[in-house]
Amino acid sequence: MSSDSKSSPPSDLPLLLIGTDFRCSPLELRERVSFAKEEAEKALVHLLARAEVAEAFLLSTCNRTELYLQPRDEDGAYQAALDMVFLARAPELERPGRLYVKRNGEAARHLMAVASGLESMVLGEPEILGQVKQASVLAEAVGAEGPVLKRLLRSATSAGRRTRQETAISAGAVSIGYAIVELARQIFSGLEECRVLMVGAGEIAHSVTRPLLERGARELVVANRSLERAAQFKEEFPSAELVPFDRRQDEAAQADLVVVSTGADEPVLTRKHIAQAMRARPSRPLLVVDLGVPRNVEPAAGKVENVFLHTIDSLDLLIQRNLKRRRDEVPRAEEIIEQELHHFRAWFRALGAEPLIARLQKQAERIRQHELADALPRFPAETHADLERLTRSLVRKILHHPSSRLRDGADDLSRLDLVRELFHLDDDEIG
């Protein structure tokens, strides 16, 4: 089990994280500690029944299970969480390196990094932010989120949103399907106006079609040798139009994007086919993606004017380029996380000063009311409302700066003590 060696100041964030992810545990272990919605609810309720746990939040996805706690007693909370959430389901997690434990600021930083996609298997993937939000809603619904975790989750989602808006951490396609979408978008004005021809209806065709339809492709035509497989394809994608395999060349003339993925040993589209198709169509570019190995489209077809032929290799090149771009953005994303962590710490520090500030305001208000009660009889009645407003404004303005400074420096206990002493805040009597 790995743990942070850094010691934190006593006033640091009271947070504890226990988790495992794809780096520490194989799928067979991760799926055992994966929590469905109802299971997560139960686990949180049981945890909160323990005196050692003040607040809890459980994030469970296919790649990670993480439990965030605001403990009353750290050792007790740690042991309870470990047993109930992890070891009860997968005792093998006790082996060194299977779980990670982070505390205080490191735990907060980790959640922000998770929400930003920095800890994801595919760097910058967008789904995790939604999963963090869903888990947060669940924790709130069962009353497991208190002020600290609620504010932490707000900071984490803010970090996740900002990293995606202000950096290119999620930019560019990193899967074959989306790489084809990206290529099409660099060629055509819009995917909505593209007619897509799928030659082959196997698993690859299925996985590629999904992102194409998701991103707006409307007209989909499928040419496949086996009618049975074509029918299966149609079942999954009802908008698809089935055509006989022999018509693939005619259909290529009508299409804007042709994706070829058959198990054929020889090219099913040759240069001649493509050249004829280009002659039969208006002067619009044609994107041909050959996902077959061995190749399903004759390489020379790529030499035809206005034809863009891409293979699995060029798509991989594009994906590697995008991944590198994402990796280059990590330092900028980390900067954003540090900013959010700074705000979260400031909020937490201010939390410690709030009771003192409240007492200070209460005392000032009592003095104001006392003095006003003495003074008002000496002034005409029509001025009373103005005097009320004036004194309120005075008190508010006098206390504004000291209150802000107290919130900013709430971790400085000597400062809090000084204020307490200066204003006799431990004493209920007003001097």
Partner: protein, 278 residues
């Protein structure tokens, strides 16, 4: 007024250079600073340029196209205005670096030639006060500006075309508008240029007929203008008849741009007889 014009002549290429650098940071490095400043900086510079051209009109009481430097500056201004419109329309902010660089190039040429050729006023001929002549010159300059814009998009189209064809994914990939959009902008600019240049040729021919001494049709300026007109016209015709694709049209556009540069510079300065003012 003359002091303002003298200062603006120096200031304009410098300002366009800075704006081009800003757009460069936007294109190559996606700098947040450039994201914020590029557009306002360009608009400010275009306003300064507009004030400069108005100042020229006020100062010389004629269209600022009587000399090659003035004509180059008008072309630069027209290209800049076209780009500001394109950007405002929201289609292609990332093409800013390339178009503003061209604007800078034309404005720099204008300033350098202005310093080299004239230290006095532009020629004050009666024709510069003729509204028909003003229309002829305005149409010609607008046409050239449109062809310059089309050349910029043609260049970008070819870069992206080659990248996509070769599966190279260089700097241009992912930063430019789609190939089809670049092609549409290039063709649109060629059409605008061709129509306005046709107008310029027609008004020029009509106006020349009215002159006491009709200029020779063999004048290099006329020949080059007709060659430019024919080249772009042929490119548009080939698209219709022979289904020229974007690449061939882009090559024609870049060739036309070369001829325009030669016509604006060498022909105007050294070869032409009667057309020496522009």
């Amino acid at each position: 007024m003359q002091t303002f014009l003298d200062i603006a002549t120096i200031l304009l290429p410098l300002a366009y250079l800075l704006v081009a650098i800003d757009y460069g940071f936007l294109f190559f490095a996606s700098q947040p600073f450039a994201e914020r400043t590029a557009t306002p900086a360009l608009r400010g510079t275009v306003l300064l340029h507009f004030a400069y051209l108005v100042g020229e009109v006020v100062q010389w009481k004629q269209l600022p196209a009587a000399t090659v430097p003035q004509a180059l500056s008008v072309v630069a201004f027209a290209v800049a205005v076209v780009y500001v419109f394109v950007e405002w329309h929201g289609r292609a902010r990332t093409t800013g670096f390339w178009l503003v660089s061209l604007v800078f190039f034309f404005q720099l040429l204008s300033t350098i030639l202005g310093a080299m050729l004239t230290h006095s006023s532009p020629p004050d001929r009666a024709i510069f006060h003729d509204p028909f002549f003003s229309l002829h010159v305005s149409l010609a300059l607008l046409g050239y500006a449109a062809f310059v814009v089309s050349a910029a998009y043609a260049f970008l189209f070819l870069q992206l075309y080659r990248d996509l064809k070769a599966g190279r994914f260089s700097t241009f990939y992912g930063k430019l508008p789609p190939l089809e959009v670049l092609e549409k902008m290039m063709i649109g600019a060629i059409w605008v240029g061709f129509v306005t240049l046709t107008g310029a040729v027609a008004t020029g021919a009509f106006w020349a007929e009215r002159l006491p001494n009709t200029p020779s049709l063999h004048d290099p300026k006329i020949l080059f203008t007709l060659a430019i007109w024919a080249l772009y016209g042929a490119a548009l015709l080939m698209r219709k008849l022979r289904r020229w694709q974007g690449r061939q049209t882009a090559l024609a556009s870049l060739t036309g741009f070369g001829v325009i540069l030669f016509s604006l510079m060498a022909v105007n300065l050294f070869l032409t007889g009667f057309h020496g003012f522009l």
